[in-house]
Amino acid sequence: MQQSVSIRDLSLNFGNVKVLERLNLDIAQGEFIVLLGPSGCGKSTLLNCIAGLLDVSAGQIFINGKNVTWMEPKDRGIGMVFQSYALYPQMSVEKNLSFGLRVSGMKKDEIDRRVKRASEILQIEPLLQRKPANLSGGQRQRVAIGRALVRDVDVFLFDEPLSNLDAKLRSDLRVEIKRLHQRLKNTMIYVTHDQIEALTLADRIAIMKNGVIQQLADPHTIYNKPTNLYVAGFIGSPAMNFIEGDLRDGAFVAKDGTSIPVGSYAYLNGAGSGPAVLGIRPEHIFVGEAAQGMPYQADVEIEIVEPMGSETLAWTTIAGKPVTFRCSSDIDIHAGDKMRVGFDVARGSLFDAKSENRL
């Protein structure tokens, strides 16, 4: 299959600081890929390299099979949407949309046709004569997307496009971006630090840390089978529970001596042994009747209860470690209650304590 964007051994240094190091990434035609990571992990830098706004220190970038490493941004067949919208303040919405086309010397009627189409798709026709200062945040971001849209490019680059919007607008525009992708079927590369955006939008997520891609996989795999401790801890809110201990004789023995059976766990490369970390997500710990039949069960005391509306979050101690679990908000649960909880390590993850990689 034709790759839309290919990155080969890409490195970027700012002086002595290595921001990206020998990074490889292949993105398929029409794929929606999200670069996810904390600030300073190099995700925006990578996007700027793909756009041609930063010169790379080493490596190559291909877009649609063409080596664009030395090309100007405008020649790469990309459109970009920025966090701060970056609309030209002195131009009307229409002029903002058509600026790139006017620069390229396109014919007037073709410009009008493209602006019309983009403003229809994004429903900003009534705003065309306004200045950016007279638009709301959501409208501005729509215009910014429109500016990428009129260029009729194959690859869309989004640099944290929703981070400046309030929570309600953010979830609205998130759905719109997804709809746009389904309609246009362009390749989209989307940078964010918001894991909900990543999980909801992406075909595949690339989780980055210190300029290195930690895991590149579909959201389901990222969430359920994180490749290392970092990914496991980064994805999921509330975070995954971690219990340190040792793997011996087909069981996981926690630091306080609690033995947790791991017979049902699917190892990557055969059964492990030695120091390990057990990770279990809050929703994979069950209470009450659901806990019956789980390979590991324990009677615990509830310490703190956080009702979230649709569900309830409870804090307790398992194997000497503070642990959170989720349960239905219908369950009547209070601090001080004693209850039976249980989980199956098959739903959880085991990591090597030293290399921090998944076992």
């Binding site: 700027n48 756009a51 041609g52 706004l53 100007e72 941004p73 405008k74 990309i78 459109g79 970009m80 920025f82 966090q83 701060s84 970056a86 609309l87 030209y88 303040p89 002195q90 600026f99 790139g100 620069v103 390229s104 910014a144 500016r147 260029r151 640099d159």
Partner: protein, 308 residues
């Protein structure tokens, strides 16, 4: 419910003693008195010389000789003003300040436009088109603003002589452009650095080049800082004496040099009313610029100071 009821019930009774609504602000507080006294004092301090100048310029010489310099003129006369403009002696010729005024205009307008344009491009390139050694280049440029003008005088005289423009308007214009560069580049650089860099990136993705981004994106956003640069340059160049007297040549002397020649002429009795009128006339241009664009000036200064 019962609580709100009691509150509305007790409110009228306590309204006079209990604080309620906006806090009263008495006008004559010690703080205010100090502030206004200081302000009035310094206003008078700066305005008094101006008052004396204007009043004197409307007096006749006999009246001035009475010595009441603070008194209003008994008979207002514009003779001193007319003489200062048309027939006061500035060295060898006696044509008043008018030729000097036009010389100053011929010096100020091109110098201002050229220096601001070059500095704006400098600042823009230094912020958005970083090149190898751009920081060093900037440091050297800024260092230039710390070197006293006198140090440059002799080398510049030689340079302009070799270029064949010594003693012409071009020479003064070139010198003013050079000396405007450090400060103007600094304020333009700081202003452009305060604009979101994403705007520049977006324009590059849209395919615009160096000049197109400068003229179509950056310039329309830079009005406040242009006003600041304009005021700095117009007042600086208009008030300049040193470069004018050194580089312009006698027939091109700017207004400041001719004013000096009027005021400092050693022949005859000093005509104070003409001197005062000539001085006010010379200072009029920067004064008008301040009044017209003062508000924009303050806004621009603040904008340029945001980022270093």
């Amino acid at each position: 419910m019962s609580q709100t009821a009691t509150m509305t019930g007790t409110a009228p009774a306590t309204a006079t003693t209990e604080p309620s609504g906006p806090r009263p602000k008495p006008f004559f507080t010690p703080k205010r008195i100090i502030i206004y006294t200081t302000l009035v004092f310094f206003s008078l301090y700066f305005l008094f010389p101006l008052y004396v100048m204007v009043v004197t310029s409307f007096k006749t010489m006999p009246e001035i000789r009475f010595g009441n310099i603070f008194a209003l003129p008994s008979q207002v006369t514009f003779d001193a003003w007319i003489k200062a403009w048309t027939s006061a002696c500035t060295g060898l010729t006696c044509e008043g300040l008018a030729p000097g005024f036009w010389n100053s205009v011929k010096i100020t307008i091109p110098s201002t436009i050229i220096s601001i344009f070059i500095a704006a491009v400098n600042g823009y390139a230094l912020v958005n088109w970083r090149f190898k050694g751009s920081e060093v280049f900037f440091a050297i440029l800024i260092f230039g603003s710390f070197v006293p003008y006198q140090v440059f005088l002799y080398p510049l005289v030689i340079i302009t002589r070799e270029l064949g423009i010594f003693g012409t308007l071009q020479a003064v214009i070139v010198v003013h452009t050079i000396f405007g560069m450090p400060l103007l580049t600094l304020i333009f650089r700081n202003y452009f650095a305060s604009l979101p860099v994403e705007l520049f990136k977006a324009a590059r993705v849209d395919g615009a080049g160096f000049w197109r981004i400068f003229f179509e994106i950056m310039l329309p956003m830079s009005l406040p800082i242009f006003v600041v640069a304009l005021i700095l340059q117009v007042t600086g160049i208009w008030n300049d004496f040193l470069f004018g007297v050194v580089f312009a040549g006698t027939q091109n002397y700017p207004m400041t040099v001719q004013l000096n020649n009027i005021v400092n002429s050693a022949q005859g009795t000093p005509e104070y009313n003409v001197n005062m009128a000539a001085t006010v006339l010379t200072g009029l241009v920067p004064l008008i610029i301040y009044f017209v664009s003062g508000k924009l000036f303050v806004r621009g200064v603040a904008a340029g100071a945001v980022k270093g």
